[in-house]
Symmetry: C2
Subunit: 659 residues, 2 copies
Amino acid sequence: MSTTRLAVQAKAIELGKLAVRATTAAGSGHPTTALSLAHLVTVLMYRVMRWDPTQPAAPGSDRLVLSEGHAVPIIYAACADLGVTITPGGLARPMTLDDLMSLRDIHSPIDGHPNPVLGFPFFDAATGSLGQGLSVSAGLGGAARLDGIDKAIYCIIGDGESREGQIWEAMDFIADHALTNVVAIFNCNTLGQSDFVAAPEDWQHLKRKAEAFSWTAVAIDGHDPDAIEDTLRRHKELGAGKPLCICARTVKGWGVPSLGGMGHHGTPVPKTELEAVLAQLDLRAQELGVAHLDPAVMKDAFRIAPPLSAPEPPRAREPIGFAEAVRNEPKVAEAVAKNKVLSPRRAYGLALKALGAANPAVVALDADVKNSTYALDFALAFPDRYFEARIAEQNMVSAAAGLWAGRKLPFVSTFGRFLERACDQIEMALIGGANLKLDGSHVGVTLASDGPSQMALADVAFMRTFTHVRDHRGNPALTVLTPSDARSAYALVLAMAAFSSACYVRTVRGDLPILYDEGEQFPFGGHKVLRRAAAGTQRIVMAACGYMVHSCLKAADALSKQHRVEATVVDAYSLPLDSAPILALAGPGTTIVTVEDNYVGGLGSELAEAAASAGDEAPRVQALCVHNIPKSGRTPEDVLSYVHLSVEEIVAVAVKAAR
Amino acid sequence: MSTTRLAVQAKAIELGKLAVRATTAAGSGHPTTALSLAHLVTVLMYRVMRWDPTQPAAPGSDRLVLSEGHAVPIIYAACADLGVTITPGGLARPMTLDDLMSLRDIHSPIDGHPNPVLGFPFFDAATGSLGQGLSVSAGLGGAARLDGIDKAIYCIIGDGESREGQIWEAMDFIADHALTNVVAIFNCNTLGQSDFVAAPEDWQHLKRKAEAFSWTAVAIDGHDPDAIEDTLRRHKELGAGKPLCICARTVKGWGVPSLGGMGHHGTPVPKTELEAVLAQLDLRAQELGVAHLDPAVMKDAFRIAPPLSAPEPPRAREPIGFAEAVRNEPKVAEAVAKNKVLSPRRAYGLALKALGAANPAVVALDADVKNSTYALDFALAFPDRYFEARIAEQNMVSAAAGLWAGRKLPFVSTFGRFLERACDQIEMALIGGANLKLDGSHVGVTLASDGPSQMALADVAFMRTFTHVRDHRGNPALTVLTPSDARSAYALVLAMAAFSSACYVRTVRGDLPILYDEGEQFPFGGHKVLRRAAAGTQRIVMAACGYMVHSCLKAADALSKQHRVEATVVDAYSLPLDSAPILALAGPGTTIVTVEDNYVGGLGSELAEAAASAGDEAPRVQALCVHNIPKSGRTPEDVLSYVHLSVEEIVAVAVKAAR
């Protein structure tokens, strides 16, 4: 047996013992999964990866993405052993064994599952909700290729985890984009949480699946240091032009017979049994002849190669404004000049292209609807920076998180309805601090003819919840924007790019009259008063966003002409919203009518919550939104009537509410 | 050429023309996709499927699930031609050509994408958001097997659509459960919306993928009537013990050269070009020698075989109560007797098992966490009715919708956090009227040690939005329940089963004191006053749900002892909530403090919206919830402090708010 092989065995056992100790100290966690990865992680982190423990996030370093996040104690053990830099509270220092033993403590950056923003920059993204790491790796791989950095991205995935369809979306995406810098490693330990892993997820099937998904696949003994190292080092050669998938046969609870078999998932070793379990690992070390290895042998075996050099991030300049962007597109210019209308989604395309020209870090992804969202503008102008994600929204969002970790600024577009496919992925991206720019097109019922399967109606409620959560930057974890015209859409997309935390813009499909002048500013949290009620008459304040701003303007005309009610109309394009000024527009004892063509949980809730907490000093809030499941209609007006949001119905409500 | 073959060609062209006409009449839709399915749909609906056009939902009939819902005009055309029973407004009558031409009209049951509840019972589920139909088919297949009905479920999937990972989750699930009654048909027309279908989704790759996923796969010419019929009729023989996947090579815009190639997705033929396009199809009929086929030949070729007989649905009896369920489990009984505590999730398991014993239609699905959610109780007691879905939540939810369409009552459990993986699938199930019973376990921050990747915090905002949407039954499309103790959890799970629309129960992980007596009733929309403030002192009303009810009870004790503030504590376990009585408890000029350990958008929003619309007569609502992204902590209390929801912080807020 080579001394290197002996050293890896000794280190794997040492790390395994630390992982067991740490989970026992925490009183929870997954020691048996960690043990199944002891050799793979040792070979990766001590021998194969080119990186620098003092700069674990260096852009030129090889990356390790732990998709099966619950196995993280084995990586924490390695980082404690290596003194990898951690940044709790923003202060950089080497990780210690004490840090390791603080696993899952409320004051510790060593969280239950990987999360870079808590002070563990070794990781690129938060994982823990399964099936997302390979997509993150794809994004990292895409970014590395754009930057010309020849680094490798190693992704460890559980065999049971491979049941998540997103894994296969990522396999397709990586093959499509020929991201041979990504190496997928399936940890085939055959045991899930509640049962043995199903037959379709055994290593033989996984190998066949990977091959059918256009990868090269090999199976190895995941506890054989030589096989691991040889396969990892030769991954490009073995892949032969395709990305390489390694099916590593492993043992859950490796080295500890008493932890073998079912019934030991997510269960720490009780304190009373800890010494006996560690003794089994010591015994294993004796059997392997590595119980008392010369420290010099260990030191000699573990000389970590440094990161590659990485280029400086490119500088961005100011993007062109709306007027210039329109001028550059003769057909758009003609339509705007002629009818003074343009769809917000068309403005998204113009803005995205302008951002692409101004900032080389901007990349875009779309799910085979780029001709509808107008991400096509960007795809045509910057094909190298456009990643067609096909009809696979989950992978698209997690890949964007990976691109962000690779120093890119990713814009992600599809129908708003289909971003609901990726709610979990969006939440994981926000947990990990990814600065995503999401575009949901075709929002609301005015999509009309395609029916409710294509209409974003529940997106607002889900996305708004994150607007009231602070991220690690102190920003709203998400800012939600629903522009009412093309010029505000353009300005807001530019503002999204300039903001340091995640944003979601909702773009209406149809042409809408342009409401704003060139140069108008749209600060996040703000609103615009588009019409002010004349004094001395019956009055009402209406607040709306997107398409419904135009319905409210029409309603205001009708109110004035037919009912002698004067309306103030507010375009409340932003969530979170600075509500106080809008409440003050109406004043105590009056009623604000909010109008939005989505389900409950958006603008109406935002103002209602503000009013309810203010109490007597605030106006009533009467929220109009969608309260029945829509259906197809041939015109937006048909469907607006079906959901009781026609101009006539808005007028009727406003008349009753006016004072 | 056989007369049957000629008849199929003629009918395919006839249906194709109708589909083109219908989309032109609608002014939107997908005629070219429809044309690619003309022969497959003709052979299925006119020759192979055993069904009855006058009873399109008969439980003994073969089923057709159109996963690529946008192709639906070709099926509508067939249904109009056959006079299939439709039920607009609840009244049954045969579908006419006029109905077909009303496609996508607001008054028409012929919606843009398949949806049974609008009056089109031929379909079992709403489709249109891609990638879900094969999972629905799996549920239908599972239900048929349970009922001993030897019917077939044919599922048509787009080639581009196969990029959705959920398709591969379904492939695994169907193979795992040996559902050889499901036949997957990939419509390989090579053209997506914005680009050619990617190489990994061509028919050769799809065939290899299906084989790697343990299916038998064959490739056929999807416009060859004989090949289609032979393959469909012999699907069991060809499958040879495995489910059969048919990769049908088709032509998008078949029969109409001018609609070939890219650029014709989702684009109806303009009225001005309609006759020219129809003429191309007529020309195709002439070339094939079927332009003037003898009607007798057609009639002779199309004798549809009747449905199989299906057993009567079994009768349900009353399930046992909590006390008896506890007595039946000695370990649980001991813990309850000794400490008067039990976790709500444990009660879910007890209730699910009791329901299984009482109602043979109850089935359960879980995603490899059945030992955590306690669906294990059911899995052990009724293994035939338990469907282990493994780590694939999207397929699990859509398969449940299929089981419901197959006359079962499906209970779906996993961590509440991971149900967020299936937001889109949940919404599609609700659109299609599926009466799902969802259990989200381990909700809120008190899960503590595993960290935010496992905590359901945004689930409430998403799910609540549907509580304010009426479904076709006139019920809330979803009822959300967060019980605060095991007895209410048990009662609410039983009530879910008895309710005719979808429900979502959120079960806390930890043991909680039992608050209620045996026999207590928990009506949906209701609440419980657990403690009433004494008169004549400073007072406050606190409303909470789940774990936080206990925090509020502790806070009330502290308020009384340390601050001379008397608190009323309300358990508001239900959304939608009948808010008025709770607002009345506090009264005008006072403040209600709501407490929940999730992000914004739940109970606090519910009461705030009610208070804001009531105005002066209502109390203020101050909503406490989670406003920062949590992290791991070793105890629930640690994490509650981290998110500013400790008992001390609740007390501090209540003291300020009290009057």
